[in-house]
């Protein structure tokens, strides 16, 4: 397990180092205006929404599925919150409504996958497309601006000298760790993703688990959406959360969780999300034109996936067969019946 965290950690360290070379004061953290201040804080703060979405995505991918709709959920949740606030609702109520709607949308995804039996990529594609339209409908294509000071706190404010967003992400991370490792949700998720039929025969009802993880993913996206909207004190139905699902999937994959499901690593995901966020920052700080962010992302994706691919490793770094007493595995072309 720890070996999988090695690569993303190394990459992150390299990126930070690179930043340090160009900006000597990069790693410094000062106290200004009564709160912590510095580049590292910025990375954490701007990366918080991605961390949130990636956490939810991790659980979905661990069951062997995928969720393309989180970006649209981010947009819908931000739009709903801002709309409610601009019409006079209190901040807490508005946020609650936004997050609740997100939860329902996620449960709907889970229903399509677990009960109707639609492939996850297809099922979540529906909400991805329709949801974006819904967000645009709510905002009427405009940008809804809100001026509520309380709302601003969520994304832009500070608590205990740290940006509120970071604390919120930490709380959600802690909650996720609690649910999956303290309670037994993690074990059941890894079981379903690792071998669904064996899990069924062990008495697991996968339906409940699947609906739960999709609902949770949408919940995380909903919270992230509120955070994003609060950060800019406005909701943009067209652009909020655009393509964040791709970054989230990348974060999960970089963190070592396989797309095929099974064992997952929350720490890996957080590292992966931070790598992506730091990558963006690095590009700015070393003076490379920001347009090339995507190019670097492409290289990182390709590099990580190739390194994780056993086919690549065996072709490029041929090794001796390790003498482990394993049952004969099948990269077989067919399994002759008994």
């Amino acid at each position: 397990m720890n070996r999988r965290l090695l690569w993303p950690a190394v990459v992150l360290a390299l990126l930070l180092l690179l930043n340090l070379l160009f900006t000597p004061g990069f790693l410094s953290i000062e106290v200004k205006d009564g709160h912590f201040y510095g580049s590292l804080i910025d990375i954490l703060r701007f990366g918080a929404p991605l961390v949130l979405v990636s956490l939810g995505m991790t659980l979905v991918i661990a069951t062997g599925g995928i969720d393309l709709s989180v970006g649209s959920v981010v947009a819908i949740s931000g739009a709903l919150a801002c709309l409610a606030i601009s019409e006079g609702t209190g901040v807490l109520a508005a946020v609650a409504v936004a997050v609740a709607v997100a939860l329902v949308l996620g449960a709907f995804n889970g229903f399509l996958v677990a009960v109707v039996g639609i492939q996850p990529i297809v099922a979540t594609l529906i909400l991805m497309v329709a949801g974006r339209g819904l967000a645009q409908l709510i905002t009427d294509g405009q940008i809804i601006t809100v001026t509520d000071a309380n709302f601003k706190v969520i994304g832009g404010g500070y608590l205990l000298m740290l940006p509120f967003g970071i604390l919120l992400a930490l709380v959600v991370l802690a909650a996720t760790v609690f649910l999956t490792r303290r309670l037994a949700l993690g074990l059941l998720i890894e079981s379903v993703g690792g071998n669904a039929e064996a899990s069924r025969l062990a008495g697991l009802r996968s339906r409940g688990i699947l609906i739960t993880v999709y609902a949770f993913a949408a919940l995380c996206a909903g919270i992230a959406g509120v955070m994003v909207a609060s950060n800019v004190s406005s909701a943009d139905g067209n652009n909020a959360g655009l393509w964040i699902e791709l970054d989230a999937i990348l974060a999960v994959v970089i963190g070592g969780t396989l797309l095929t499901g099974g064992r997952f690593s929350l720490g890996g995901t957080v590292l992966g999300a931070l790598v992506i966020q730091t990558l963006t920052t690095t590009i700015y700080s070393i003076g490379v034109p920001p347009e090339t962010t995507l190019l670097f992302k492409a290289l990182v994706v390709a590099a990580v996936c190739l390194l994780q691919s056993t086919a690549f490793r065996s072709k490029v770094f041929p090794q001796r067969e390790r003498p482990v007493a394993r049952p004969a595995t099948t990269k077989d072309t067919t399994e002759v019946a008994r």
Binding site: L125, G133, Q136, E291, T293
Partner: protein
């Protein structure tokens, strides 16, 4: 219903027929509701406005038929427009530009195919990397829109090919129709095309049957890259500009068109005519909305999403019956 119609019509055609029916219904309903809707030119306009999407969707169909997916098409289209604009403005002759752009598309497609087949990286991830790469190259070349003033391209944009009776189409439509024709021929009359279907049906079996699965998989991604590049050229004709922000989200439109057209995302089943109908339906939704005037255009996305949902459920019901 399946049992009834199954006797009259082979079950495999059912999804496409449903799509065709839906298209006809939309057209008639629109014609009843809006003045001037019920005319052939309206349908032709859909072709004109979506010729580039049709070409891209054809490439996507090949990939999806093998059970894969290609997320890079939108970015490739944008890259094609950028490269074309830059080269034309640097004085290259249009024919050379066209050839180079097509080669780039095919080359990138082949690269992704290699990653998918030889290194066993999932198509989703490999083409996602391709998407980032292509879009990133776009932005690296330039972040502003680059106008195209080359006479050949301008001519392609402005020429109206009369069909008689006041009807007209653009040259892009002819190109798109030609692409559809060639693709249909390949899929139904050549070993390569049949292997595409076989690979999607059961890749392991296809391998055991001795079919050239490796070459086929590489081939479909190359074709998709080529079609994306060609679609990009058609878009360049239409917009007369190269711009890194062209065709954002186009891959979703292409996938939607293919799915609505009745092709299964799991591979092995589907027809090109379905894709054509899918593109038409997407275009028709847009037309309805513009005729309606009062509906905001984001209803398009909602409609498309709902339509996708309906078709996927339909596919699920039909395939569940098969078992």
């Amino acid at each position: 219903m399946t049992a009834l119609t199954g006797a009259v019509v082979p079950r495999k055609y059912l999804p496409v027929l449903v799509t065709a029916g839906l298209f006809a219904a939309m057209f008639v309903a629109g014609g009843a509701r809006y003045e001037g809707f019920f005319s052939t030119q309206v349908v032709l306009n859909v072709f004109i406005d979506n010729a580039f999407l049709l070409v891209v969707a054809v490439g996507m169909t090949f990939v999806i038929l093998t059970g894969g997916i290609d997320l890079s098409v939108g970015s490739m289209v944008a890259l094609a427009t950028m490269v074309a604009a830059v080269l034309l403005n640097a004085g290259w002759p249009p024919v050379a530009v066209i050839v180079v752009v097509l080669l780039i598309g095919a080359g990138l497609g082949l690269g992704m195919g290699c990653m998918i087949h030889f290194f066993e990286i999932q198509p989703f991830i490999a083409t996602l990397a391709g998407m980032f790469l292509a879009r990133g190259l776009c932005y690296t070349i330039g972040t502003d829109s680059i106008p195209i003033t080359d006479p050949t391209f301008t001519a392609a944009a402005q020429t109206q090919i009369g069909l008689g009776g006041g009807l007209w189409i653009s040259p892009s439509v002819l190109i798109a129709v030609a692409v559809v024709g060639v693709a249909a021929y390949v899929l139904h009359q050549t070993r390569f095309g049949r292997t595409v279907y076989a690979t999607g049906g059961n890749e392991q079996s296809a391998r055991l049957m001795g079919l050239p699965v490796a070459r086929t998989k590489l081939g479909v991604y190359t074709i998709s890259g080529f079609c994306s590049a060609l679609g990009g050229l058609l878009l360049a004709f239409y917009m007369l500009s190269g711009y890194g922000l062209h065709a954002v989200g186009l891959e979703l439109d292409a996938i939607a068109a293919v799915v609505i057209g009745g092709t299964l995302l799991t591979g092995g089943s589907g027809f090109l005519i379905g894709t054509v109908l899918g593109v038409l339906i997407l275009g028709l939704i847009q037309t309805v909305i513009s005729f309606q005037g009062t509906l905001s255009s984001w209803w398009t996305k909602i409609f498309v999403g709902l339509l996708l949902g309906v078709f996927i459920l339909l596919q699920r019901v039909i395939t569940a019956r098969k078992k």
